[in-house]
Amino acid sequence: MDVSPPADRTERRRLATRRVLTHLAIFACVLLVWEAAAWSGIADPLLYPQPSAIAASIVRIFFVQGNIWWHLWVTMHEVIVGFFVGTLLGISLAVAAGLSEILRRYMKPYVIIMEATPRIALGPLMIAWLGFGFSSKLAIIALVCFFAPFVNTLTGLLMADEDRMEMMRSMRATKRQIFWKLMLPAAMPIIMAGIRLAMASALAGALVAEFISANHGMGVLLTRYTQSLNMPSAFASLLTLTAIGFFLYRTMEIIEARIIFWQNDAEMHRVAKRRGAAWSSA
């Protein structure tokens, strides 16, 4: 909540506006220099298309031809499904391992081997086993998304501090209660960090998988444009991916702040207020 005096607040808003304007000005300069470089022939416009050409391409592939939508859908579908499958598998296996000393012991060598193997190197094998379509992509992305949530969940669960464990036991909590009411919530911040990493690798994994072999998807589109030297469209596709990456990251950030609200001041105050209100109305 903003409790500073109004004069101070207008002053700060003015500064913020000025900062945004400066950023825009610098960005415009960069674009101009780039555009000029292409026009003057310093940079070969065939390989390094000027901003205006890229902008035209964006309009074309999204709205005139509209061909990007299908590829975008294919990739996003793979990313979302693969991300969920990999993350859920990673977390569930880590929970099982976290609860069972025996399972943990026997799983360990495989985990070490898998961790040492670059997961993306399994890409060509997956395609050989599962074909060019959706299932091989799903497998590759799930594989890429598996590890960070797995390792983080396991670490988080094993990290639960002894004092709070004893506190729970002294109140005669069952194993199940200790897990749900202490270990899992306490591990949530580090689990969420793992999930965020998985989200970032999901998009990269999907593109690499499509580079290896596929008929549809943003990776295919990007390769096709580059190979036919349609650089403005290649750049337009790249920018689209940047935007998607940013969107996914922001979404994860918002979800994370809500889940681990007690580590975020603004969210914590919000939840405190809500719970207080719910209490007095009950």
Binding site: E166, S170, P185, I260, A272, W279
Partner: protein
């Protein structure tokens, strides 16, 4: 007011007339061949008394408390609460730690309600009691604050309220205010006395501070390290309620000197 009356009444009753709620006989705990945390401790604690445990670091104070709480098994000896051998945590025994051990994702009142929740369904009466307990420990207006919004002292107050919510009347307090500053600790001690007197609880209170141990207690268990031993149980005869000026009297300082002497011999 009621608390004061009750504690006066308590002082009037001869300690020997009250039944022992806790009895230990040659209680021993070895963590390994060489680490003897506690050896041959024999003691008894009458109902409603306040017992302090003092001794240097590593003399087995926490170990003793954790065995009474049923958190760790002993190596040999017998330990009985209300005549029953301790095998697991009991409902009439509660423990409080040096760290507040609150759950960060729960508001103060939700933390206080934790023991109720673990035991089964939470009723409106439980909820009402949790709020009352928070008021009792001086936390009006902080019922819905999260631990991170509270100072260290306030967190320990929540932790104390949570302990009271368990309904336990044998309270094991392991340096509960050890992490707090001198002023806060003194205030918390006095409030603690008021509260436990009010509910007539039996208290085992661990501290490093000799004066604090004596000021609070009916009996002081003096412990010495390597191996952990219960060197002596010193009686503290002063009437209750006690005023803070007590610590400047000659009688008080005689007891301080006695405890110091026992500890110094090691």
């Amino acid at each position: 007011m009621a608390a004061v009356l009750k504690s006066e009444a308590r002082a009037a009753v001869d300690a020997a007339a009250r039944p022992n709620v806790l009895e230990g006989e040659r209680v021993t705990k070895r963590f390994s061949e060489t680490v003897v945390a506690l050896e041959d401790a024999t003691f008894s604690v009458p109902e409603g008394s306040f017992v302090s445990l003092v001794g240097p670091s590593g003399c087995g104070k926490s170990t003793l408390l954790r065995m009474v709480a049923g958190l760790i098994p002993m190596t040999s000896g017998t330990l009985a609460v209300r005549g029953e051998e301790v095998k697991a945590p009991r409902t009439d025994v509660g423990m409080m730690f040096q760290k507040a051990t609150l759950l960060d994702w729960r508001t103060a009142v939700e933390n206080v309600l934790l023991p109720t929740e673990l035991a089964g369904r939470t009723t409106d009466a439980d909820r009402k009691r949790a709020i009352e307990l928070l008021h009792l420990v001086g936390l009006e207006d902080f019922e819905f604050a999260f631990p991170r919004q509270l100072s260290g002292g306030m967190q320990q107050r929540v932790s104390l309220a949570r302990l009271l919510q368990t309904g336990a009347d044998i309270l094991l307090l392991d340096e509960p205010f050890g992490a707090l500053d001198e002023f806060t600790r003194e205030r918390m001690n006095i409030e603690l006395l008021r509260i436990v007197d009010g509910i007539g609880a039996t208290v085992l209170f661990v501290t490093h501070n000799i004066a604090e141990a004596i000021f609070l207690a009916d009996q002081v268990m003096v412990m010495t390290p390597r191996p952990g031993r219960l060197a002596k149980v010193v009686d503290v005869p002063f009437a209750r309620p006690r005023e803070i000026d007590l610590i400047t009297t000659a009688e008080f300082n005689e007891i301080v000197a006695e405890v110091r002497g026992i500890l110094g011999g090691h």
